[in-house]
Symmetry: C2
Subunit: 678 residues, 2 copies
Amino acid sequence: MARDPRHDILFEPVQIGPKRLRNRFYQVPHCTGFGTERPRSQARFRATKAEGGWAAVCTEIVAVHPESDRAPQPIGRLWDDHDEHNLRLLVQEGHAAGALVGCQLWHGGKNVEGNVSRAATAAPSQVPSEVYPMTVPRELTVSEIEEIQGWYVAAALRARNAGFDIIYTYGAHGYLLGQFLSPFTNLRTDRYGGSLANRSRFWLETMERVRSAVGDDCALACRMSVDARADGGLTIDDALAFIRLADPLVDLWDVNTGTIANGWVDMTPSRLFPEGSQLPFTARVREATAKPIVTVGRFTSADTMAQIVRDGLTDLIGAARPSIADPYLPAKIERGEADRIRECIGCNVCLVKALVPANIGCTQNATAGEEYRRGWHPERFTRATNAGSDVLVVGGGVSGMECAIVLANRGMRRVHLVEALPRLGGYAALASKLPGLGEWHRLVDWRQGELRRLRNVEVHLSTTLDATGVDEYGADIVVLATGSSWVADGLNPVTQRVIPGAELAMVRTPERVIAGDLPPDGEVIVYDAEGYFMGVGMAEMLALAGRRVTLVTSLPTAGPFLERTLEAHPVRTRLASLGVEVVCDASVASINDGSVRLSRYGAELERAADGVVLVTARRSRDTLTRALGARAATYSIGDCVAPRLLADAIFDGHRLGREIDSDDPRRALPYARERAGV
Amino acid sequence: MARDPRHDILFEPVQIGPKRLRNRFYQVPHCTGFGTERPRSQARFRATKAEGGWAAVCTEIVAVHPESDRAPQPIGRLWDDHDEHNLRLLVQEGHAAGALVGCQLWHGGKNVEGNVSRAATAAPSQVPSEVYPMTVPRELTVSEIEEIQGWYVAAALRARNAGFDIIYTYGAHGYLLGQFLSPFTNLRTDRYGGSLANRSRFWLETMERVRSAVGDDCALACRMSVDARADGGLTIDDALAFIRLADPLVDLWDVNTGTIANGWVDMTPSRLFPEGSQLPFTARVREATAKPIVTVGRFTSADTMAQIVRDGLTDLIGAARPSIADPYLPAKIERGEADRIRECIGCNVCLVKALVPANIGCTQNATAGEEYRRGWHPERFTRATNAGSDVLVVGGGVSGMECAIVLANRGMRRVHLVEALPRLGGYAALASKLPGLGEWHRLVDWRQGELRRLRNVEVHLSTTLDATGVDEYGADIVVLATGSSWVADGLNPVTQRVIPGAELAMVRTPERVIAGDLPPDGEVIVYDAEGYFMGVGMAEMLALAGRRVTLVTSLPTAGPFLERTLEAHPVRTRLASLGVEVVCDASVASINDGSVRLSRYGAELERAADGVVLVTARRSRDTLTRALGARAATYSIGDCVAPRLLADAIFDGHRLGREIDSDDPRRALPYARERAGV
């Protein structure tokens, strides 16, 4: 297909200092779990985006010195020749795919925890970190300021030697340069504190020294938050004044908002923020500069992207998450296939995966982070050695859908996807009905689109198969993807047993609540023993429906997993505003008619309850797996094996499809590990 | 000196299967942050203990397969030739120092989070992990059980090939083998569940297969928890029955109690448990076996160790933490210098450091984890090139004491340690006055002993020096170690400012409370914005003194750092039992006479208060540093630079001493990094 002419503007080249971007698609720096220590994974991951049309790809944070470190998370480091050598591979692979490559030089100041160097951290003033209050920095002396600027210069020279096109001085997200700029964290009274000019000095001097060291060989990018969006922090007006001061030194402004203390305003969960939510701030940067601007906003709509460029709100479409969800986003727009973009759902599991377990992943894109270690490409599939088979996939949740798509792409004669319900999507579809999670339905939408497009797939809805039915279907290969359900009996991690009284009429599962079968009016106890979106989702849904809700959780906080997705604080604030009471570190020992018995810190207490919702555990729907487990060429994937993150369930379906022709498709093939040797 | 004859029994050799331990000191497996991926650090760390006299040193967990992993934490892995090769270095260095070396084969079952392989986890039954409730395992089929046993065999063969003397099947701490054995987690109804014989089957079969694979080349150790010490878990009687069943297969019983769900009963914080607290359980193992038994108990008293061996309660003195705090513990007893043992204080910071930032460290022993990367040895010091200098150390906290000891050992002519108070110990001495933290005073005691022993050190108490005084002292080298204080003005991480009203008479600092200057009778608000021991310590102290205490914390939980030291749950239980109310996620906006104004989830609320204790931030006492910062050969260490963990403050003093003759002693020399390359 041909490109939609309305999108032509996105494919105009843009000059940044001495370098030229081939179009307006720009992958801003973001973490991966690869750093400098897994150089091949790093290079393949970014280069895949470059192949997909991004005009620039950038590293994550690259520490300029051991005093600012994030180990054991593999981050970028430019401390010595070895680091420089490792990062060179990324540059080479990025260049080979036609992109510019950027390096984000970083000193975290006091917003660092777990300093493996054991050196004291550094900041403009000696006040503990807002996010890691155990980190109390030293107040930098002027000679130490000069020393740190020297580290930036040394790292910039290494970056230039490694071949990077773009070098960042990075002060967004509340790191050292930003700590000096912000009146919130800079309490100095010398020439590095007080007035805006003084607060700007450290950063300006750093840029001057980097510029004079690297000359015109590289473009210089400045990445900053233009409004802290928090009391006492940097305001947009201060930011614009800073930009005017710094503009002569800068080739590219990479702008966002917030700090790591309120990171959700930048790495916006879809639960809370729509596409482009930072534009009211970032679009004002144009008032202060004529240089190119890149801004982010979880943009996945080509029309919106083209519009905001036309409107002059930004020059470049910055992306972290949309480029992870679809490395080929630019190529798809270019080919006139914008409707095939695998759109980011804004769940932030990429961040979770990048930090722990330190291998970036993506709910939408099962290949993210697997480019090197498993050799997977998001858009390319090899023909299976057993291609030409007929495949039956039982279960049309997102894991089954994903597997069907991969198998169809690998050349199976026919893939039959059979779903018991009248709709596809399984647990993803269910989750998308929770307050704020509507965008998660993109998981279903994209797969539905692909299934429609693939000529060797047929989908059968409202069709239930038992073991005999599967046998009689006569497929060469059978994939069971029958998913999981929330338990109704209260089976839970705390007692490893069911909860007495769970059978009472006032007790509900999440599925029943979402289907509209709410617990009786009055006091409702939501018991969350899992800690992710379902417990808080139930509490919010029921509070909105007028119930008086107490969220009882066996965990130390409400929804602890949401801390990793940056949703926890705003979700807890929302629950508080809805009048939801939270009781942490408590478990439900038993349910009686009209009350529940809680156990907390060794004591028991009784709470009145007109209704109870149990969010205690998911159980595999594994009847078919148990019946057919030993059948030849029959495999189980996703939640019917073990309930897990949507990202991992989709991954599992994808993995089976990729390895359907291996010696033992049940087990993943070994993946390549990058590691030190003796 | 000669060995005390009462300790002779500790130096008897012990036969374990085909191998012979040279004495009764046994370093049980414990984590380090090195794993297989930092092989040189791993080898040097353990081999240093071997040099110090331990008869055996062991690895940490060594995963038998990618489906059980802990990345990004560097753990041991034995998946391929590369892993085997990396671990061989540990064996070689351990052997060279005269020790046997053990390898702890591990499958975490469902007690694993952040599975980098993205494979489903495995367990006897499909119930979420008690500790990671987002982890829901698959229920293992019998053929999968056999498959996993095959992984143990493959890993055991690799361990044998690498030269290990002792191979563990490890099911303690609630991992897979233990999940099968425990009636808490094993709900199976087939021959692997139900009766004790059935629950034992997986482990027994695994040991049989490992034994038949490695033959008599290695000793087989079985590490287990002999009582879950929790409702529904394994009991000592069940454990003894299992031991009787397994005994013919086992050469060494390595026993402890609890699981990772209540890890504090095994990795006992001194706050909660005395030396040897597990003996009432572990000593009963003798009833079931005549094979050698190793048991742990944070043993640092040579008399106690000898006594429990004499009493037949154990054959070997197991140690993790005491061997980290003093790798030369056996050698010191052997030399008749038991009073010089650097005794573990039971703070569990070793665990914190081993996990994040993934380089083991120790509060007592600044060299722990630095053996390879900085080349430090706990007992050996090189003569400094500027030895013969006179050194003045201002400040007799533990950082200053440590620095004075290292400098004296490095041959300074004279080290003058000057302290303003009539006692040594600084913040460590203060902390040791909190409820339960008495053992922390060992930090002071050990250093006091060394200072007394060193002939080139003189200590001056009750002596305050100002800048002129320091200058006039006339030392060649000056070290400033003046420490930090809790702020009285309410400076805090949340607002980065002081708290209005902090000057009111009802407000206290922790130092004043510890000195006996308690807030007025009635309602007391302890405001903790730090999250470690001081906030909960103040709450406990004041509740014990009869105050009605509310612990207000800006953090999501009470004392979140205590989660890492395994103290959180028991501390929270204790606070609850003392009637302390906890308000999380709340900050103190202002203090008025008779009340405080709190901010929580965007709302403000007023709470009555007769007294307030501010645990908001520590501030460096840096008057001398500021006055003398530019003075030649003048250095600052520890909290007066930046308040930090006691472990890091002591480290800082040690580091300066080790590098006092470098080109720029202010800055640490680069350390060796083990990492992958392109």
